[in-house]
């Protein structure tokens, strides 16, 4: 008669498997340019463009203070974010299928991916917050450029800049990854339903705020919670996407 081989795995493995999770982090980093190279190439290119623009305006005789004030509304500091949404998408669309082929569980894959996202966010946040300080110290890299010291940056010190970038970075990565889990689980039909629901939800909220004439209160409230408050909301939203992605990916299937 035959017997099922089950003796060696009679004792179930622990639910927390640091090694299994860590190897997913390493898998994401095996080609480091994806997470750590390309974002800096994009940011570097945006930096060169900003410097050149500042030099052109400066060369035309505009006072440095005006240049810096005008460039505060430049979005150059956010340039890598579009790419990082794609990285979030690809992490699930490609690396997920590969990790399953190599015998990873969906759970370990998502946890490892989340750890990777946290690492990337810390790295981006620390670097950008430091570059804001450097830009302020060097008076805009000597030419009055204001690429990093722009938008909400450079107003409340290194720690707030770090926190804001960290929260935004996590949100961007988890949005890309979590939305892709919907595709991996329900394919095109899921994506259509998700897109339509998102549009209906956003339009509904806009209509609600408009008809109740509550826009001034909303902006007033956002103003009152300040930069830290707003980015705490963003961090909370990132956590929602992280949790949703975890729930959806548990039954997702590779293409």
């Amino acid at each position: 008669m035959t017997a099922v081989v089950n003796a060696p795995i009679a004792q179930s493995t622990s639910r927390v498997r640091p090694n299994e999770i860590w190897r997913i982090v390493r898998l994401h980093a095996v080609n480091p340019s994806v997470f750590f190279g390309v974002p800096w190439i994009i940011l570097g290119a945006a930096w060169i463009v900003s410097i050149v623009i500042a030099m052109i305006i400066g060369g035309a005789g505009a006072p440095e203070d005006d240049i810096r004030e005008g460039m505060r509304y430049s979005w150059a500091v956010l340039s890598p974010q579009w790419y990082l949404i794609v990285v979030g998408v690809q992490a699930v669309a490609y690396t997920f299928s590969f990790a399953l082929g190599f015998g990873a569980t969906r759970r370990d894959f998502w946890l490892g991916t989340a750890v990777m996202f946290v690492f990337v966010s810390i790295e981006m946040a620390a670097a950008i917050a430091t570059l804001v300080q450097l830009e302020q110290l060097t008076d805009g890299w000597g030419v009055g450029a204001s690429m990093f010291d722009s938008l909400w940056y450079g107003q409340q010190g290194w720690l707030v800049d770090f926190y804001a970038t960290f929260a935004l970075q996590l949100l961007v990565l988890f949005i890309g990854a979590a939305i892709t889990t919907v595709y991996m689980r329900w394919r095109i039909r899921g994506m259509l339903i998700l897109t339509l629901s998102a549009i209906v939800l956003v339009l509904g909220l806009i209509a609600l705020a408009t008809f109740t004439e509550s826009w001034p209160q909303i902006f007033g409230w956002l103003g009152s919670i300040g930069i830290v408050g707003i980015f705490s909301l963003i961090l909370g939203l990132a956590a929602v996407f992280a949790l949703a992605g975890f729930l959806v990916i548990r039954r997702a299937t590779p293409r």
């Binding site: 035959t2 081989v5 190897r23 340019s33 669309a93 590969f98 015998g103 039954r251 299937t253």
Partner: protein, 301 residues
């Protein structure tokens, strides 16, 4: 007593109204080489994806190493399955695959992998996207062999491989299997290429199992009887016929079941010719004739 590593009972996979697998039942025993044979779209890859927990069954039971495979790390770590249409992370090269492999396969043999890379002349630094079909198959074959997973799947390993590479795969698999026994499941529609490798054959067509038998037994089971039509028909009258061809007054009929000495003597007396049926021919008879043409074309390519 041979331990069973896989037990599948009534396994069904439906996609909407399409039934990819229909109440499939089979066992896989430890340390044997299985051929999962069938035409394109028969359900071979679906079975392997279900066994490795990549898909969830619509109905039925799967036990791999005594447990449901999906989301069980202790089961999954003992398997290796590189799908024929495997997706790789963006901008991955074969070098990246081989670097990551030891983190996932505890029995990984890096030296063996290196030797296989040289054997197959696989370019390590070229992006996977840019590899030819044969080189892509080589990546899967190298990972499958060097992982030495207790349950290893090869999904259409011959796709695009040239004759030399096919021979290398054949040799290396048998060599390594002799030294490190494991359960191997090889899915293919290029049957003649692997026929001598297989110890057991599971033939699947349109989501159902047509045949689940020892390969040695399968080779002996069918025979072709050829001769004048009336005589042939008389000889095969009460036997299970699985194929019939006729040309003018001549007929060639393939029958399932072993012929004993008395049968052979009688056939000789009647002036009939008996010929053994190869695994591929038998499978063509069982699953339809289109297979023969498509197989030859692809083998030649």
């Amino acid at each position: 007593m041979t331990p069973t590593v896989v037990r599948v009972d009534g396994l069904t996979k439906r996609y909407g109204s399409f039934t990819a697998l229909d109440r499939v039942t089979f066992d896989l025993e430890e340390n044997r080489i299985y051929g999962l044979l069938g035409r394109n779209g028969a359900g071979k890859t679906t079975i392997m994806q279900l066994l490795t927990g990549q898909l969830f069954p619509s109905d039925g039971e799967i036990e791999v190493f005594g447990r449901t495979p999906a989301e069980h790390a202790d089961v999954l770590r003992r398997m290796c399955f590189i799908a024929e249409s495997q997706r790789y992370p963006e901008d991955f090269t074969a070098a990246h695959v081989l670097k990551a492999a030891p983190w996932f396969f505890e029995n990984w043999d890096a030296a063996f992998a290196e030797r296989l890379v040289a054997d197959f002349r696989l370019p390590l630094k070229r992006r996977i996207k840019k590899l030819s079909r044969g080189q892509l198959s080589a990546v899967g074959v190298i990972v499958g062999l060097a992982s030495r997973a207790p349950l290893t799947f090869f999904d259409e390993p011959y796709l695009g491989l040239d004759a030399v590479a096919r021979h290398i795969f054949y040799d290396r698999l048998l060599e390594d299997y002799a030294e490190h026994p494991r359960t191997v499941v090889l899915s293919t529609h290029l049957i003649d290429e692997v026929a001598n490798l297989l110890e057991h054959v599971i033939l699947i067509d349109q989501g159902r199992i047509l045949l689940d038998r020892d390969a040695e037994e399968v080779r002996g089971t069918a025979s072709t009887v050829a001769g004048p039509r009336a005589t042939v028909e008389q000889f095969v009258a009460d036997r299970p016929v699985i194929g019939r061809e006729a040309l003018g007054g001549l007929a060639s009929v393939t029958i399932d079941g072993r012929l004993d000495q008395a049968d052979r003597v009688r056939a000789a007396e009647l002036g009939l010719e008996l010929a053994p049926v190869s695994l591929q021919q038998l499978i063509v008879h069982l699953t339809g004739t289109d297979l023969a043409g498509s197989t030859e074309q692809e083998a030649a390519a």
